[in-house]
């Protein structure tokens, strides 16, 4: 197994507050790593540092052995690193299909071919397959803004997979999603992980969701890594119970 993502000693401070304080970990190919911890422990800041949305104050990020610290999010995305957002981030006026085409269009051709080539960048079929996969068929032509919260979450996740990513960082994919849809979402993510050989890092507060989806779980507290191991090990770790899980 090779490491898809290697994070070494990442630090990020905002003024006097150190949000992420020397975090190191790697993620192996095909793995689903869960990232948990109390609110404000630095999970999202860590994500933003890995993804180039924030510039880390120190440390290094490697994707497939290549140093990517300091790259812009769009460059990182074209290298195969994709993400979903904690809050809804779809394009409300575009249809579901258009949202997906948009999510894939920058991954092929160049500026010229995108100007002179076909309007859908040849992605209608791929988008429709993704729509079918996430069971959004009946909504394909609806504006994304008209979808329910849970459906928009599914679309947000689907968009992250349009470019055929190597690594996907999911920020609270289950937040606000109802129970039926949650089982669906977990099953879809597990299937994509198997079929596309995509590697995931998942931030989530829903313990049942994390423990059943992830092959490994990392716990953060106050900007540092508190524990990192198999779900059952982490769940039994006294320090984790103290800081996060509660008794």
């Amino acid at each position: 197994m090779t490491a898809v993502l290697e994070v070494s000693n990442i630090r990020k401070s905002f003024g006097g507050i150190t949000a992420v304080d020397g975090v190191s970990f790697d993620v192996q190919e095909g793995e689903i790593l869960g990232l948990i911890g109390p609110n404000g422990c630095g999970k999202s800041t860590l994500f933003n540092c890995i993804l180039g949305q924030l510039t880390p104050s120190g440390g290094e990020v490697k994707v497939d052995g290549k140093v990517v610290t300091g790259l812009r999010p769009s460059e990182l995305n074209r290298l195969g690193v994709s993400r979903t957002f904690q809050l809804l981030q779809v394009f409300p006026k575009l249809s579901v299909r258009e949202n997906l085409i948009l999510a894939g269009q920058e991954h092929q051709g160049n500026m010229m071919s995108r100007l002179l080539g076909p309007s859908d960048a040849g992605l209608t079929d791929a988008a429709d397959r993704m729509i079918g996969f996430f069971k959004l068929d009946h909504l394909a032509s609806e504006p994304a803004g008209g979808l329910s919260y849970g459906q928009q979450k599914l679309l947000d996740a689907a968009m992250a997979f349009m470019g055929g990513p190597r690594l996907v960082l999911l920020d609270e994919p289950a937040g606000g999603v109802n129970l039926t849809m949650l089982a669906d979402l977990r099953e879809r993510l597990a299937a994509i992980n198997r079929e596309m050989r995509a590697t995931f890092v998942v931030i989530e507060h829903n313990m049942e969701f994390v423990m059943s989806l992830c092959s490994r779980v990392m716990v953060m507290a106050e900007g540092k890594v508190l524990a990192n191991g198999r779900p059952d090990e982490v769940r039994a770790n006294p320090a984790v119970i103290e800081a996060y899980l509660g008794h």
Binding site: Q53, S74, L115, M162
Partner: protein, 332 residues
């Protein structure tokens, strides 16, 4: 879109184009001038609609680009060069300046960006007025010739109207192509959610600059037609109020709608003429009409149509769902 709606749309388009070709044939000189002005200003408004309506970048400088185009055309054609050459130079010049003007948009947005473009607009006006050696300053440039197209002189109002209309047609096809291409989708992404766009691999920096450059280049196209249309230019028509007029055309017509600029320019150019019978009150009536429209529909005239169509579609969809549900329940 259903098949019938598509045919309606095509039919409407054909009738509108035929009317624009045939009806003006018995217009007088003044009527043709106004209609030519509509065609020409629509092009600049389409440019601003790309920058503002689709890509979401505020610009108060579109009038300055019309000025740059107009002065390029006036200077070059009075020196005996063909208008086509002036068009090429104006488009490249405005594209390049628009690209540069896009850089502030990478740092500032909304009203801050409006101020940056406002400053540029003032700067351009000062150049038109003060650089006598180039622009003849406040005296302006007169005797601007009209072009010969494939050997046909277009000095008379009707042929030149067709030049303007033809140019509008060509630009419309190009803009239509652009907005339905992946670029158009990326522009909308810039407007709706730049952070998400970045995370999907969209080079927001390059698309923002492109939106400015292309929009500005279309302002230049308008200028190159405006100079031979009026045959005399001075700095005054290209001051800030033209930029504001163009902004109003885009917003009143409906920003982000393909046909918005056509309607907006029609209202901004034609409505004051129709209201002329009210003599001293026409500007006031015009202002009130615009205020009322924007209160009723902040997304412009096409916003009203869009709202109506969406409502109808939602009703149709929920009716379909009810039918499907009833069938499911009826099934044993």
């Amino acid at each position: 879109m259903t098949g019938a709606a598509k045919y309606w749309r095509i039919g409407f388009g054909v009738v509108a184009i035929a009317a624009l070709i045939i009806v003006p044939m018995n217009f007088n000189r003044y009527g043709l001038f106004i209609l030519s002005q509509w065609a020409v200003m629509t092009i600049a408004a389409m440019g601003l609609n790309l920058t503002l309506g689709y890509a979401g970048q505020v610009s108060l400088a579109q009038g300055a680009f019309v000025g740059i185009g107009a002065y390029t055309a006036a200077i070059m054609t009075t020196q005996g060069m063909p208008l086509v050459a002036a068009l090429g130079v104006a488009v490249m010049l405005c594209f390049a300046i628009g690209w540069i003007l896009g850089y502030p948009a990478l740092r500032v947005q909304h009203h801050y960006l409006a101020f940056v473009t406002l400053a540029f607009s003032t700067l351009a006006f000062l150049v038109f007025r003060n650089e006598d050696w180039l622009t003849k300053g406040i005296y302006g440039i007169s005797n601007i010739p009209r072009p010969a197209i494939f050997g046909f002189a277009t000095n008379r109002p009707l042929p030149f109207y067709y030049v303007c209309l033809g140019s509008l047609g060509i630009v419309s096809v190009m803009v239509w192509w652009l907005i339905r291409s992946p670029w158009g989708r990326a522009f909308v992404a810039l407007r709706e959610n730049p952070i998400r766009a970045l995370s999907l691999g969209i080079d927001t920096r390059r698309y923002t600059l492109m939106a400015f450059a292309i929009g500005s280049a279309l302002g230049g196209v308008t200028g190159t037609l405006y100079a031979p249309l009026t045959q005399y230019i001075d700095p005054v028509p290209f001051n800030l109020s033209l930029s504001l007029d163009l902004l109003m055309m885009v917003i009143v017509g409906g920003a982000g709608f393909f046909l918005g600029p056509f309607l907006g320019a029609m209202i901004a150019v034609l409505l004051p003429e129709w209201l002329r019978f009210t003599e001293g009150y026409y500007l006031m009536l015009y202002a009130v009409a615009v205020i009322l429209l924007l209160i009723y529909s902040p997304s412009g005239i096409l916003g009203i149509a869009d709202r109506y169509l969406t409502e109808r579609r939602t009703k149709a969809a929920s009716a379909l769902r009810t039918v499907a549900k009833a069938r499911l329940e009826a099934a044993p």
